[in-house]
Every structure is written in structure tokens, then in C-alpha cells.
């Protein structure tokens, strides 16, 4: 095997992480001992069920009949035509039951919790998409569910709060610090530590201690596997470019994982540069962070000089996190994925552009990917393609967008 082939093989999903949960130097398990044995238990259970035909079948049936998979791939002809460059395609994770990709791993984690005999499943949520998906999965399999959510996000994403409550989940407001996603993770960890035996912490992204980055990625990798077939069927070739937004990075790794060894596929992860790239005004962790530890794993971290996680800010609650998945940290270092930034205004512009050109209202998070893809498309020839992971729908964001940006787009 050549050096290049070796390098590509190393990127294969089945070769990452290593047995201790490391992707290169990132990942691992840096947690208080009260959680160590619980994480080992979860890891063992997951390694068993992922090979268990009964589990695989149960999840496949739910993916098809409950979530509505496979989600379609859609060619944005009007938008591509208007830009006059590359052809933009969307992987429509926004059409999943509950409106985002999060349901993919929540079903898996809920089934795992049930198998482990847990009574309750708990998690943090930013935009509320993970919370809604987990509350849905909990209702489906018959588990109690507590969702920790920052008070700022509760106000901003209120429809999702009500949705979780209708589904029978308890939404626990988190009022410390900036009252957003990082603090919600802190609170969920604290609740988990208080009772790691009867609860399972179903972390909402490819972050946290091993095995979560691996497990959530595996459940999300269905996005990439489906998209790989679909786009080839539609265009007769692999996509030339992939684009996905990155907060923790679950939707992005879900799409990217099926293409990491295809060196001709350019891959772009898009982080939020918020209102500016000044300290505290963005959440562009891979672009501006440095290696560190956060919430029990090693990754790029936005941090202050003393090693405390830095304040973050973006209009996309689901991307508002000072850490990022360890596999993304690795993919940055080996230069397999390019990490780019999109600011608040560009994301809102894309939000309206996709809504008005194609009749699809994207989540603000996904709008970051759309915005970057639009820029990229303008530089490409017409026979080149971009596949965007449209990770969620924008229904949850309409009140916030209209209140803050409506006027600029003709909504009084």
C-alpha cells in the first residue's frame, strides 16, 4: 500500500477511533471517576448491540416507518441557476420526523437506554432540536426524559420547548453563565453525576467522553451512506463538494463519514463567526480555537488564557458551543476537511434566499451551510456539484428571524 492509500485507509470510519476513543490525539475520556465505570458500561453495551441483528433490524424499521428515511436528495435548480455556477443539492434531513437529523442518533440512544434497563434519558439542548428528538424517542420507547436548556435558548426557541413538554419531557431551565448550550451541558453532566445508574445521558452531538463521539457518529452515518447512493443515481458521479454546518459536528460527520476516503470529494465544514471574529462574539472553534479539554474529551476549544472555555455567541443556538467533536479536530489537523466560517448576516441572507428561491425554510444552523455553499457555487463550473446537508428545518426559528431581521426582508 502506498503512503497515500495508508492515509486514506486511516480515515475510514471503521478505523476511528482507537480502542481508547482517540481520533489521533483528540477524544478520549477525561471524566471524574464516578462516571468512568458507567461510560465503560455504555461502551460495552454499544459494542454488543451494534452487531446484534435484532437491534439493527429494530432501528432500521424505525428509521423507515417512524422517521421517514431515506430522506431525499433535492436539486436546487432555481438557486443554482440564479447563482450561475455549480449545481446545489440538498440532503433533506429537514424532512425527518421532528425536523432535523438529531432523531437519527436519538432513536439509537433510546433503544440502548432501554436495553441497559435505564428508567430515564437525559440531555442538553441548544436550539431544541436534539431535545425534541430525544423527547420523541423517549415517548416512543417508554422512557422518562429530562432536557436541560439554557434560559436564553428557552426564550429564543420557545416552540421547541412546548413540543418537548407535549411529548411528556421535563424541560429544566439552566440559569448560570451565558445560559446557553455550554451551560446546558454542564447542568446535564451534573444531573448525570447525581444518578448515573438509573439515567442515561444521551449527549446531543459527536462530543463528550468516549464512546459518545463514536456512537453518535455511527448513528448519524446513515446520512452519508444514503446520500452517496442517491447523488450518484441523480448525477452519475460522486459529489465534487460536501458542505455542512459544524457546532458539535453531528450532522457534518454524518454526511462526511461516507466520503472521507474519496480524495476527489472536497469537504467543507462551516462554523458560525457570529457577529465578528473577536473574542466572545463567535463560535468558530476549529477556526480560532486551540487544543484543550472540555466536557470530558480532548478537542479544539475556544478558551481564555487560564484554560476556561470562552464565551461564545451566534444566532444559531445549535452551533453555540466552545468545543467541537474530536473527529473534526483530527480531520482539521490532517487537512482532510476545510473548516470555513459564515457570519450571522450571511446565514440570515441564506435563510431567506433558500426559502424564496426553492420554497424550503432552513434552520438557522443549516443556513450557515447554505450560505457557504452559495459562495462556493459562484466559483464553480456548471457541471460541478455541491451536496449540502440540510440538517434541519427553520420552523423553530421563524419568530426570532422575523422579529430581528423581518424588516430587512420586507416583513413588517
Amino acid at each position: 500500500m502506498t503512503v497515500k492509500e495508508d492515509k486514506l485507509t486511516a480515515l475510514a470510519v471503521e478505523n476511528m477511533p482507537d480502542e481508547n476513543g482517540f481520533f489521533g490525539e483528540y477524544g478520549g475520556r477525561f471524566i471524574p471517576p464516578a462516571l468512568e465505570s458507567i461510560m465503560e458500561e455504555i461502551e460495552q453495551a454499544y459494542l454488543e448491540i451494534r452487531k446484534d441483528p435484532a437491534f439493527i433490524e429494530e432501528l432500521a424499521v424505525l428509521n423507515k416507518h417512524f422517521t421517514g428515511r431515506p430522506s431525499p436528495v433535492y436539486h436546487c435548480k432555481a438557486l443554482s441557476e440564479a447563482i450561475g455556477g455549480g449545481q446545489i443539492y440538498l440532503k433533506r434531513e429537514d424532512l425527518n420526523h421532528t425536523g432535523a437529523h438529531k432523531i437519527n442518533h436519538c432513536l439509537g440512544e433510546a433503544l440502548l437506554a432501554k436495553r441497559l434497563g435505564k428508567k430515564k434519558i437525559i440531555a442538553e439542548t441548544g436550539a431544541g432540536q436534539h431535545g425534541v428528538a430525544l423527547a420523541t424517542a423517549a415517548a416512543l420507547v417508554g422512557l422518562e426524559c429530562d432536557i436541560y436548556m439554557g434560559e436564553v435558548d428557552i426564550a429564543k426557541e420557545y416552540p421547541n420547548v412546548v413540543r418537548m413538554q407535549i411529548l411528556g419531557a421535563k424541560v429544566v431551565p439552566v440559569g448560570h453563565g451565558l445560559k446557553t448550550l455550554k451551560e446546558a451541558v454542564d447542568a446535564a453532566f451534573e444531573a448525570y453525576l447525581a444518578d448515573p445508574v438509573t439515567q442515561l445521558y444521551a449527549i446531543g452531538s459527536v462530543v463528550g467522553p468516549h464512546p459518545f463521539p463514536m456512537m453518535v457518529r455511527d448513528f448519524q452515518s446513515i446520512i452519508g451512506r444514503e446520500a452517496r447512493e442517491q447523488i450518484q443515481e441523480m448525477t452519475g458521479k460522486l459529489p465534487d463538494n460536501l458542505v455542512a454546518c459544524v457546532g458539535g459536528g453531528s450532522n457534518a460527520i454524518g454526511l462526511f463519514s461516507a466520503f472521507l476516503q474519496d480524495e476527489d470529494v472536497n469537504i467543507y465544514g462551516v462554523e458560525p463567526s457570529g457577529s465578528s471574529l473577536n473574542y466572545g462574539e463567535h463560535a468558530a472553534t476549529l477556526s480560532l480555537g486551540t487544543p484543550g479539554l472540555i466536557h470530558g474529551f480532548k478537542s479544539y476549544v475556544l478558551q481564555d488564557d487560564e484554560g476556561n472555555p470562552a464565551p461564545v455567541n451566534t444566532i444559531a443556538s445549535g452551533l453555540d458551543y466552545p468545543g467541537v467533536g474530536p473527529q473534526h479536530s483530527y480531520l482539521k489537523d490532517v487537512e482532510r476537511v476545510n473548516y470555513e466560517v459564515i457570519n450571522n448576516d450571511e446565514a440570515i441572507d441564506a435563510f431567506f434566499r433558500l426559502s424564496r428561491e426553492e420554497g424550503i425554510i432552513p434552520a438557522i444552523e443549516s443556513s450557515h451551510a447554505v450560505a457557504y455553499a452559495m459562495k462556493l457555487a459562484a466559483t464553480l463550473d456548471r457541471d460541478q456539484t455541491i451536496l449540502i446537508n440540510l440538517s434541519g428545518r427553520g420552523d423553530k426559528d421563524i419568530d426570532f428571524v422575523v422579529e430581528n431581521y423581518g424588516k430587512k426582508y420586507g416583513i413588517e
Binding site: A34, E36, S37, A194, H295, E306
Partner: protein, 256 residues
């Protein structure tokens, strides 16, 4: 022999350890609290290095950490405050904190400073044992620094044996699978766990922490272990109005 070993050599039971956060209630209270605690008869002091995301700590310690960070506390500042500590303090002093701030400060510099100031041990709840063995054990032992490991009701016996082998100071027995914070009383379940550990006849001394808040719970814990650690309740006592020195001494004499 370092001060921790000396202490456990000379005193076999009722060892009282108090924990407080550096730079709290005010930035420059660290040394005052340390001195008062020694004068009042504390056997060991643990100083917390504040961190914004302390996964193992409950609300009281978290709030004290937030206030300390607001006061401008940092690892660099702490070493500055402790540089002449050994002119006045003779009891063992440990630092407790999380990995990321230490990484950020720089391990080599951190260990140099620990040696210079006369720190006897470290408690780093998110440092994995494997990492300790491969990267830190030799460096710690070279400067006589004890690494204190935590065990919980969920820690398997074989792991406890491994920790016992690796420990050069004492083992920190977390009384329940929870974060820190003064919960009163010791349950039957905890008692069974304490007995299980006692029966293992570990070579290292054991101290019980988490949930010890007053004389009753301290004495009860000491029936099962060499001593006990009081954190949240001590922090609550020192943040009361009035003289810190008096508050520290009143609290410690209420325990002993």
C-alpha cells in the same frame, strides 16, 4: 518522607481535611484561610484551583469558583500567593483542580511551582489513571508529589487495587456517586460501601469526602476511614459575614 505520609504515620484516625477555593471570598484570602485552618487544628488543607466547568463539583463549590474567577484568580496568581507559604504552614497542602487550566498553564512550569511552594499532592478528578501512569507518575514522584485518586461506589474492586498500588498519599473515597455538596447523614447503602472498602484492607490511608458537613457526619465517617474531607460546608462557613479567621476557627472547632 513527604508531609502527607508523615501525618498518616503519626496520626491514625480522625484526620480532618478541609477544602476551600483559592481566591474566595476575596482574591487575597487564600493564605489567611490556610493559616487559620492550621491554627485551628485542620490536619490537611486542599486548595481548589477555580475552573468555570468543574464537572465533579456541586453548586456551593461551583459558585465559589465562579466568584474566585471573577475576583481574578488564576493558577499563576495562586502560586504567587503561596510562594512563601512554607515559612508559616507546616501541615500538608494539596491542590485540587481540572486538567485544562493546568495544560494551559503548562505542566513543566506547574510542577516546578508545586515543588517551589511546597505542595504535597494533587487531586485532578478528570486525569485518567492510564494517562497518569504513562505521562505523569515519574514526574510527580521525582518531586515527592502525591497524586490522590478518587474512588466511588461504582469503582470495581480491581480498579481500586490498581489505585491503591499507585497511590503514594491517600485515597479519596467519594461517599456517593454525586457531585460535592453538603448532604446530611450517611445512608445504609453508603455504610455498606464503606465497609466493603474497609474489608479490602488497602495499604493506602483512606479519607471519605462528599457529604460530610458537621461533627456528627465527620465522626461517623471516621468510623470507617482514616479521616474525612469537608468542602462545601467549610466554604459556606467562611463566606459568613465577619472575620474569616474567626469563622474558620469556629467551624473547625465545631467539628473536632
Amino acid at each position: 518522607m513527604n508531609r502527607i505520609n508523615q501525618l498518616f504515620e503519626n496520626k491514625k484516625n480522625n484526620i480532618l481535611t478541609v477544602y476551600f477555593t483559592a481566591g474566595f471570598p476575596e482574591l487575597n484570602d487564600t493564605l489567611t484561610i490556610l493559616k487559620s485552618a492550621e491554627e485551628a487544628g485542620a490536619d490537611i488543607v486542599e486548595i481548589g484551583m477555580p475552573f468555570s466547568d468543574p464537572l465533579a463539583d456541586g453548586p456551593t463549590i461551583q459558585a465559589s469558583g465562579d466568584k474566585a474567577l471573577e475576583n481574578g484568580m488564576s493558577i499563576a496568581k495562586l502560586f504567587e500567593q503561596l510562594k512563601d507559604m512554607r515559612k508559616e504552614i507546616s501541615i500538608p497542602v494539596l491542590l485540587m483542580g481540572y486538567l485544562n487550566p493546568v495544560h494551559r498553564y503548562g505542566w513543566d512550569k506547574f510542577l516546578q511551582q508545586c515543588e517551589y511552594c511546597g505542595i504535597d499532592g494533587l487531586i485532578l478528578p478528570d486525569l485518567p489513571i492510564e494517562e497518569y501512569k504513562s505521562d505523569f507518575k515519574d514526574k510527580f514522584e521525582k518531586i515527592g508529589l502525591s497524586n490522590v485518586f478518587l474512588i466511588t461506589p461504582q469503582t470495581p474492586n480491581e480498579r481500586i487495587r490498581m489505585i491503591d498500588e499507585l497511590s503514594t498519599g491517600f485515597i479519596y473515597m467519594v461517599s456517593s456517586a454525586s457531585t460535592t455538596g453538603a448532604k446530611s447523614g450517611i445512608t445504609e447503602e453508603q455504610e455498606a460501601y464503606f465497609n466493603r472498602i474497609a474489608q479490602m484492607e488497602l495499604k493506602s490511608p483512606v479519607q471519605i469526602g462528599f457529604g460530610i458537613s458537621d461533627r456528627g457526619s465527620f465522626n461517623r465517617a471516621c468510623e470507617f476511614a482514616d479521616g474525612a474531607i469537608i468542602g462545601s460546608a467549610f466554604i459556606k462557613a467562611i463566606q459568613k459575614s465577619g472575620s474569616i479567621d474567626v469563622n474558620v476557627k469556629n467551624f473547625i472547632s465545631s467539628i473536632k
